[in-house]
Amino acid sequence: MNKTLLQINVNGQQHQIEIEPDMTLVDVLREKLGLTGTKKGCNSGECGACTVLLDGQPVASCVLPALKAQGKQIITVEGLGTAKELHPLQKAFLVHGAVQCGFCTPGMLMSAKALLDKNPSPTPEEIKMAISGNLCRCTGYKKIIDAVMAAAAELRGEKTITMPTVGEQVVGSSVPRVDGIPKVTGQAKFADDLSFPNMLYAKVLRSAHAHALIKNINTKRAKALPGVIAVLTADDVPGRNGYGIHIKDQPVLAKDKVRHYGDAVAVVAAETLKIAEQALELIEVDYEPLPGVFTVEDALKPGAPKIHPNGNLVLHRKVYKGDIEKGFQEADVIIEDTFKTPMVEHAYIEPEAGIGVYDGGKIIVYAVSQGVHYHRSEIAANLNYPVSKIRVVQTTTGGGFGGKIDNSVHILVALLALKTGRPVKLTYTRAESIIASTKRHPFTMRYKLGARKDGKLVAAEVEIYGDTGAYNSYGTAVLTRVATCALGPYEVPNVKIDTYTVYTNNPVSGAMRAFGAPQAAIAHEAIMDELAKKIGISPVEIRRINAFRKGSATPTGQILNDGVGILETIERAVEKSGMH
């Protein structure tokens, strides 16, 4: 490829760099100048994590051809302030708790700087507009807006931001977060920010079908491409070709069958990312498409296509208490309804990324994670390698919400490091992250409640079907958890709860914030309102009557003796809302 000379001024320093003409500015900053404070979240101009100032204006550097910056001035987060001399914005972000995972922070800071450079006294509305191109998944934006207001005040010379210091008394006092300063200065190293000498780049070939048999995989042409170091398929997995926290049903690389659009079929390691991408196009896979099932109803029909050999029902969990028939006989009012909640993507701003390093017999994986010990044990089993020789290092992780507790890049980079003996980096694209990562389980929930005329619940019959997608992941745990909390904070003497974990050919559902409880809350709160209406009492009253209190028994028979705060919470909410 032709090289072109790019002359730019970055953070006050003049650079002359030889680049490929089709590089984007973010890649020049990160790869050529090592300025990894500028992040790549979506690589499509949507998330704002790559925001830098180009001649003072915020731009999305991931969709900006680097040559558009020819002869121009660029400021990145590294040019904003240093650990020793923080910019007021950096201080304010720390003090106001506007930094959590830290991945959106550099872009957010740059948009805020562009605003304050032009407008020293912005209103909250103007701040919202200025950061409208920067997505954050952790903070909820309010703290960010507060921080920008505070920084503006300091810049106007009105009010200095005081950084908390760690004194003798730590408990009960504000202390700076340990990873705060690296996150506001762009120094925190997320997985994709790391690189090693002699490093290779990996890409995954993903299934083109939701359900199909693999008849043949031909990697010959891909292997012959200059710069390709390894092309691996299921036969190259030395140990158990299956992983999963509870059931080892998900293949590292699919062997005879793919079960969802996104299953990993082959993985390539090459000298450059571009070569790895080209190699994927040269891998030939012969599929024999199979009929797929995409709803729990279809998956449980007699004669439905079997996604796994044992059928599509993974687990039926029962929580029964009292006498359900007697309970409904005692009821003056019976109410029934069905609720459905959709699949939800975690959409952390940092896509999955990791690097496998082979170091004299040891395999070290640096990667995003919410559970390094789990990754370590899976890698050992999949690679048939002693667990004592595997180390998993969690890099600064740009949002997880449960989605980074599962394996993503981990086993593949370990496998590639072992096979090639070289460091191998794998970073998902945004599309790949959405296709291949786990989701919140979609639920279908059938509720039947029985209550006396006075509003007291006497019976509850609940059926919950959770779509765990092609593999179980945390499915059985999520559906077990919801079996225990399907009735929310309400005491019912006679209970019959059945939950079903079901395979479909949808994306895999796994762990996500609160593990099934939020889906059930949609159902139990909606039906409680309906029940109140039917009986003719207020939504508050029906909750007061039925809420857990000291000594209440949950559906599993657990007696609640301490810390039962729901009644108090209801009263406080009533007080604050003015509702009675």
Binding site: G45, S132, G133
Partner: protein, 294 residues
Amino acid sequence: MNCEKYYLPATVEEAINILRENQGNARLIAGGTDLVLQLRERKINTKALVDLSALKELNGITENNGWITIGSMTTHQQIAASGIIREKARVLAEAAQSIGSPQIRNVGTIGGNVVNAQPAADTTIALMALDARARILTNQGEITKPVGELFLGAGQSAIDPTSEILLAFDIKTPGAREATAFMRLAKRKALALPIVNVGVWLKLDQTLSKFEDIRIALGPMAPVPVRATNTEAVLKGAPLQQTVLLQAMAVLEKEISPRDSLRGSAFYKKEMAKVLLKRAILVAVKDLGGELGE
């Protein structure tokens, strides 16, 4: 981005010569906020890119002899912030302001927005309401075309980016009894494509009691941006009355054919197009001090 060469010509002449020399293997890039993605996903392939951003002559907004001229490389941000546009062609200022995010508006251009040829491109809808003329440099020399004639299909522009250069848009400066308005429905206020967008230009009669003339542009109602000419016909010459507006909404429903998409059902888009049309007309009429009677 997948290209082998990247040119940054200093003049329009140099740019057109590079295109000619490359005989179809080079294509123009404006802001690139859409094109870079299309190249990365290989939806568009080219050997070379010819970047027009160094061409000062294609950038800027001027007003001369009753015409407003907007260079094709003028960014959405420049348009949204322009005093001339805000004051005289509000529909365009608001359309430009609604695109993407600050990061995108600082780079994306009006020319790129039009040549990308999406059926609901915000600035296109505004330009069609303003009856803008596009000046294009072709192999036959400079030609002028109404913006409405620049679309062949979804994503298909009548301007060939491997041989032709969109230079500028000319808009007749609106006169005393003329006003414009832009309405847009999207899931969020930023980084969201429109579910429906409507641009209106209208002229009232001397007594401010009748629609003397009107132009209505909408997206995404068909594979290309559309003018609602039947609806315009109902309103032209009609009195400023609620009943007339209701009649126009009924005609609009018949003349648009949106499709079901992730952004909304066809039914919803039709209903909202009617609502947005009504709101746009009310805003423009109010701007002129007019009022709708019963």
